[in-house]
């Protein structure tokens, strides 16, 4: 498997390492720090109280140890919990950007303007981009859609935030969710009114420059009755972050007849080939479906040193539908423990889980999923398919399916398969003129087809390239 070895040892070409002068809180966490965060953000009293309560809860909790990952636990008192970007050094042209980074961008097919934005270059056609954005904003406002930063939502729409925040991921849910609730700095807020179909993909791209994504992001998406929204989070461009610990919380509410499609591409710094550095990504994502509602999570996870993430659906209403489509790539010394929970409470609820793990190098990938059928969930149905693809002999993949059924009418199906990229497949491709790197990309994309096809078109194309880049190592 020498060839595989050679090409899977990819060097991560980092994202923005722009010097950011920041307004930083002293290291450590205590009530004063939380008061500081809240006051820096000019928050109302209720928000501060909510945070303080979360902090009290967190202090009583222990870091979870059940996941199939090993890492040195972060020292929570060595972290600074607030750092507001003061000014970002703006580069004059792409010539000043690391050429390696530009190569990665080119490989990913990211447009020039996007490249500039991502690498902190001033965009020449400012007027244009501002006006485009304004047009979008105007269009959304016309439909009554609210799409803004969490900070803005706390000020402008306190009644909505108070009504929904922490309702599907309570502060007591888990260690990282509690921590996030105490110290989150920003995130996105989105509200789609009754009967409105959001006419465009809502993306964090739009507002990334306004507030910057943070270490402790908080996202809230509310789709009112019979509405529809497709939300994109993250981007395929590599993201470097000084902060080792990331603990985001995402909450989705799909009211009667509503549909939320939530797609994520995660490409945080995975650490170097020897397993040094890299982001710890501990994310809590959960959505609740009322009657006839549908939530569909799609994720392509290629980054981070340690990933701990289980986007879940609570299928509360009758006939509601939950879906989870995931591709998780681990390479070098990366570790991922990811999967989903489908909690069937209502009658005739349906869930589908398609998980595709890809392991290369010395990495470790685990699927962990729970399908729970409550006593009142008559005729609930679930289909799960959890596959893993191994590249080389140094990596490991594991599947931990948990099934709890409390209703006899349930139909639960589980399929799992582990395969290896075979020398036979590679040689066959080579023989037809396809070089090995392209062959791996082709085979991997074929393997992930069922997940990639769930992504919005442009995103899917980028994600395909991203998979190739994260596995090939020919960058630079």
């Amino acid at each position: 498997m020498e060839i595989l070895d050679k090409i899977t040892k990819s060097d991560y070409k980092y994202g923005f390492t722009t010097d950011i002068e920041s307004d930083k809180a002293p290291n450590g966490i205590n009530e004063d720090i939380i008061r500081l965060i809240s006051s820096k953000k000019n928050e109302p009293e209720w928000m501060l109280q909510w945070r303080l309560e979360a902090f009290a809860i967190w202090q009583e909790m222990k870091e979870p140890e059940w996941a199939n990952v090993t890492y040195k636990k972060p020292d929570f008192n060595a972290i600074s919990y607030y750092s507001a970007p003061k000014s970002k050094k703006v580069l004059d042209s792409l010539d000043e950007v690391d050429p390696e980074l530009l190569k990665t961008f080119a490989k990913l097919g990211i447009s020039l303007d996007e490249q500039k934005r991502l690498s902190g270059v001033a965009i020449d056609i400012v007027v244009d981009s501002v006006s485009v954005k304004t047009t979008f904003k105007a269009k959304l406002a016309e439909l009554g859609i609210i799409f803004c930063s969490m900070t803005e939502a706390i000020h402008e729409h306190p009644e909505l935030v108070q009504k929904y925040l922490g309702r599907v991921v309570p502060r007591t849910d888990n260690f990282y969710a509690a921590l996030n609730s105490a110290v989150f700095t920003d995130g996105s807020f989105c509200f789609i009114p009754k009967g409105v179909r959001c006419p465009m993909e809502l993306s964090t791209y739009f507002r990334i420059n306004e507030s910057g994504t943070g270490q402790f992001e908080r996202t809230l998406v509310i789709a009112d009755e019979d509405s529809y929204v497709s939300y994109l989070e993250g981007c395929t461009a590599p993201m470097r972050d000084e902060n080792q610990l990331h603990a985001a919380v995402v909450e989705l509410f799909a009211m009667d007849g509503a549909e939320i499609k939530y797609s994520t591409v995660q490409n945080w710094y995975p650490g170097d080939v020897n397993g040094l550095g890299g982001v710890f990504n501990f994310v809590t994502k959960r959505g609740i479906c009322e009657r006839n509602a549908k939530i569909s999570w799609t994720q392509v996870e290629t980054g981070s040193a340690v990933t701990w993430k289980y986007p879940s659906c609570i299928l509360k209403g009758e006939n509601s539908v939950g879906e989870f489509y995931s591709v998780a790539v681990t390479n070098n010394y990366q570790q991922a423990d990811t999967g989903t929970k489908m909690i069937h409470l209502g009658k005739n609820t349906k869930s589908t889980i398609i998980s595709k793990g890809i392991c290369a190098g010395k990495s470790n990938g685990s699927y962990r999923g729970l399908v729970k059928i409550g006593p009142r969930a008559d005729n609930a149905r679930n289909f799960s398919q959890c596959d893993s693809l191994l590249m080389g002999d140094g990596c490991g993949s594991h599947t931990f399916p948990y099934i709890e059924i409390a209703n006899k009418s349930a139909q639960v199906e589980h399929e799992a398969a582990t395969s290896k990229i075979g020398e036979d497949q590679l040689f066959y491709c080579n023989q037809r003129g396809i070089p090995t790197e392209e062959a791996i990309a082709l085979i991997v994309n074929g393997y992930c087809k069922d997940v990639l096809s769930q992504l919005p078109m442009e995103f899917a194309v980028e994600a395909q390239k991203l998979l190739a880049v994260s596995l090939e190592g020919s960058v630079g």
Binding site: Y428, C429, N430, Q431
Partner: protein, 251 residues
């Protein structure tokens, strides 16, 4: 065109090829026959550049170039095509997508722009017709769930698209029904030209009724032990391999 001299090859220290000499000139059709395990597929894999096999002695030249120094894909780009005895399945990759990648990588290697999608599609349709294949195959995953015969036919379909200079058909006739054999053979015959050469590996004289070879070779225990015209195939068909084994034992 193809010039094999004293070729020795082994896999995991097992000597499989023990001094092969073979010359194929432009436009010629050579048939290679021989008992199971004699090294026919090994020879085709070594020509195509499979890295598991180690060439311990000898040389292969193709169009006056040292073939052994090229990677498998470079050999493909140079015009070598191998129709596999056991074509592999690649789930999730449609035949169209595979062919597009294959053709465009080949063009890229030659410094050409990718095929315009429309031309490529037309070419694919023409070749489907040539091999009397249903166009439904184009959207199916490569070889996945294809019957044995369909896989073989698909190999010849790709050969027709790639227009190689030298095509090695490793038991393409095995697993084909009578009609399919005729269709595949007539496909091959249509592709014959004074510049293109074929090496047919087969166990049966039947294929050679359709595609008439210029030479027939018998591979036995890693060596070509007998070469002749097409009548040699008839002789083998009626007498089996024992007489050759006996003759060899006597020497």
């Amino acid at each position: 065109m193809l010039h094999i001299k004293n070729l020795h090859a082994s896999i995991e220290d097992n000597k499989i090829l023990k001094g092969i000499n073979l010359e194929v000139r432009p436009g010629e059709v050579h048939a290679i026959m021989g008992p199971n395990g004699s090294g026919k597929s090994t020879l085709s894999s070594v020509i195509a550049g499979r890295e598991e096999y180690e060439v311990t002695e000898g040389s292969i030249e193709f169009l006056n170039e040292d073939l052994l120094s090229l990677s498998p894909e470079e050999r493909a780009h140079a015009g070598i095509f191998l129709s596999f005895q056991y074509p592999v399945e690649i789930p999730g990759v449609s035949l169209t997508n595979f062919i597009k990648t294959s053709m465009n990588e080949t063009r890229k290697a030659k410094g050409l722009e990718p095929y315009p999608a429309k031309d490529l599609l037309k070419k694919m349709r023409d070749c489907l017709e040539l091999l009397e294949m249903d166009k439904g195959f184009l959207s199916r995953s490569l070889n996945e769930g294809f019957s044995g015969g369909e896989k073989k036919r698909n190999e010849i379909f790709q050969m027709a698209l790639l227009e190689p200079k030298l095509a090695i058909l490793d038991e393409t006739d095995s697993g084909l029904d009578i009609d399919a054999l005729r269709i595949v053979a007539s496909g091959v015959n249509k592709l014959r030209s004074p510049k293109k050469s074929f090496v047919l590996i087969t166990h049966y004289q039947r294929l050679l009724n359709y595609i008439e070879p210029d030479y027939v070779h018998v591979l036995f225990n890693g060596k070509i032990v007998r070469s002749g015209g097409k009548e040699l195939a008839h002789e083998l068909e009626s007498k089996g391999y024992d007489w050759i084994k006996q003759e060899l034992a006597e020497v």
